[in-house]
């Protein structure tokens, strides 16, 4: 056997699979931990021009609302040190058009599709979940609770554990599939909302969404984003996200999908060690459309270097 062959054999023996356990036993098995994050991966075909999408663990759709949304006015994006601030405002065609037009396109790829859903009142989430429950191409819902509750005076749903509990439970009653609750970091203690999601029957939590932020254009002497406020993402938020995953891992029994600023294989390893079972790639896709492939190779290199053949052995290892 020559050298090259033995190196390939070793790579092939490395098992990158990860399992998102479910309450009812119907686990979500991913061939690797990389999931594209909502709102940063289009509808699939845009990224597929740059790499074979089937290399991913799973794909998450842009946020879906009950009715079509035009989104915010532009500028919708600003930059900060190693980060970006966005205020897209959930531009999407609404759940019916999503099912009719977008889903068939994304479903061409051979990987689990997670539908990211948003609402402005509790019933919106329920009504979307009912419609999506009939779509067998969808492997699960990711419930985005970083949106304002119009009936609740505009407060962000995900900042109140009681709200998180109620919405999760309502969705659970109408949606039989896998439910991920995506949490906002704009809260004092994220473990309170993470626990609320778990108690209400969520199969997993995803953290974190963007951090509330803004930028002022000092020439115009006005907020730069048309919407004034936006959400900070990218490398700038990674340490905050790692901490929140680490803290939540200590209290939860359900799996955690970790995301926030991941740009490299080392970043992924850090999230796994903190307790994430899978991870989301967000802002990096904007900068480097084929980043997922590079990151996969870097993960394999790390495992090889540490003589590990199972990625899952890293999950939560920093706690031991």
């Amino acid at each position: 056997m020559n050298k090259q062959q033995s190196a390939t054999d070793l790579t092939e023996k490395i098992d990158l699979a990860t399992v998102l356990k479910a309450k009812n036993g119907s686990h979500l098995k991913l061939k690797n931990p990389l999931i594209t994050a909502s709102g940063t991966c289009g509808n699939g075909h845009e990224l597929a021009k740059f790499f074979d999408l089937n290399q991913l663990g799973a794909f998450t759709t842009k946020g879906i609302t009950l009715q079509a949304q035009p989104g915010n006015k532009t500028p919708r994006i600003a930059e900060s040190a190693a980060g970006i601030i966005n205020s897209i405002g959930l531009e999407n065609p609404g759940v019916d058009q999503f099912i009719a037009k977008k889903l068939p396109e994304t479903a061409q790829y051979n990987l689990p599709i997670l539908a990211n859903i948003s609402g402005y009142q509790a019933d919106d989430f329920v009504n979307i979940a009912i419609k999506l429950a009939e779509q067998k191409e969808i492997s699960g819902l990711e419930v985005n609770l970083s949106c304002p509750n119009i009936k609740g005076g505009g407060m962000i749903f995900g900042t109140d554990p009681e709200n998180v509990f109620q919405i999760t439970r309502k969705i659970k009653q109408v949606y039989p599939g896998y439910i991920i609750v995506k949490l906002t970091p704009n809260i004092t203690d994220i473990t309170t909302t993470a626990l609320a999601a778990e108690e209400a029957g969520a199969d997993a939590v995803a953290l974190i969404n963007t951090l509330s932020a803004m930028k002022i254009d000092i020439e115009k002497q006005k907020p730069l984003l048309a919407n004034t406020y936006g959400g900070l993402s990218g490398p700038a938020i990674k340490p905050i996200a790692v901490k929140m995953v680490y803290q939540s891992y200590q209290k939860l029994t359900i799996p955690i999908i970790g995301l926030g600023g991941i740009c490299s294989g080392s970043d992924v390893i850090e999230f796994l060690l903190a307790g994430a079972t899978a991870v989301g790639l967000g802002s990096i896709n904007l900068r480097e459309p084929a980043a997922a492939l590079r990151i996969l190779a870097e993960i394999k290199d790390y495992l090889k270097k540490h003589q590990l053949n199972k990625l899952s052995s890293l999950i939560g290892a920093a706690h031991q």
């Binding site: 709102g39 940063t40 991966c41 289009g42 845009e46 990224l47 021009k49 740059f50 842009k62 079509a68 035009p70 989104g71 532009t74 500028p75 919708r76 994006i77 600003a78 930059e79 040190a81 190693a82 980060g83 970006i84 966005n86 897209i88 531009e91 065609p93 990218g234 490398p235 740009c263 802002s283 896709n285 904007l286 900068r287 459309p289």
Partner: protein, 259 residues
């Protein structure tokens, strides 16, 4: 990665960067753009790429040229790249200008650094079509480089500046309108600040003149995944067009423009 062959100052804060584009998969069309990574070594700050329209492309020498103005952090870094350095670029991206076949008189109207994409368009069209070029900027020095480049082509060119009298003193729109009675337009191409696009579009539509414009929206990805560059179509607020995919070139009257 592509090698930089030149990166030189050609006007006030205006640079011309030439890249050896030997590994391009597709030949760029006039009006298309590239998204450039403006980092040195492995830095991730600034995080986003910067979009620049193709100023020129030569398929024989495989040279790709951009002309850019230094306005902030990213363009500042770009201006410090040296000949021989490598540049990471994505493209060609977006939808370029439509090249008309049997229009008689084409007018190209450019303002400020918005003149950049019009040069490649003019170079591609100059041999077959009758071209009139109207260019405006704050000062004459901003126009010198462009004037020199356009004057090598078979076209008529008129210049204006806000600060001094050239062929005219005022905006590119005013210059164009002044010449319109004597020089009829069948189709126009416009690029410049959004305020200028809006003003030219209004005057052109009022005269039933057809044409296209190129918008400069802040972009996140340049490849259609983030919806940062979303424009509202004139038909309905819910019909959205991404400047990086369905644009940056749009028909006059296709998308809403801001003041």
């Amino acid at each position: 990665m592509f090698k930089i062959i030149a990166n030189r100052l050609v006007g006030p804060k205006i640079y011309e960067i030439i890249i050896k584009a030997d590994k391009l998969i597709e030949q760029p069309q006039p009006g298309q753009f590239f998204n450039l990574k403006v980092n040195k070594l492995k830095s991730k700050d600034p995080f986003l790429r910067r979009p620049f329209s193709v100023f020129d492309f030569n398929p024989v020498s495989q040279q790709l040229t951009f002309v850019y103005r230094v306005v902030g952090r990213g363009t500042e870094i770009l201006s410090s790249f040296k000949v021989g350095d490598s540049l990471d670029l994505l493209g060609p991206l977006g939808k370029g200008f439509t090249l008309p076949e049997n229009k008689k008189s084409l007018h190209l109207i450019g303002g400020g650094i918005g003149i950049a994409p019009l040069y490649y368009l003019a170079r591609v069209l100059a041999d077959q079509q009758q071209l009139s070029i109207y260019l405006g900027a704050e000062t004459k020095t901003e126009l010198n480089f462009f004037q020199q480049k356009f004057s090598e082509l078979k076209c008529s060119i008129k210049l204006t500046a806000m600060a001094e009298k050239l062929d005219f003193k005022g905006t590119a729109l005013q210059l164009w309108l002044k010449n319109l009675p004597a020089n009829k337009a069948d189709f126009i191409y416009v690029c410049g600040p959004e305020k200028m696009l809006l003003a030219v579009e209004k005057e052109a539509l009022a005269r039933n003149i057809d044409g296209e414009l190129s918008v400069e929206k802040r972009m996140g990805c340049g490849i259609g995944i983030c919806l940062s560059c979303s424009c509202q179509s004139v038909e309905s607020p819910l019909t959205r067009k991404r400047a990086c995919i369905e644009g940056p070139v749009f028909k006059l009257g296709e998308v809403e423009l801001d003041e």
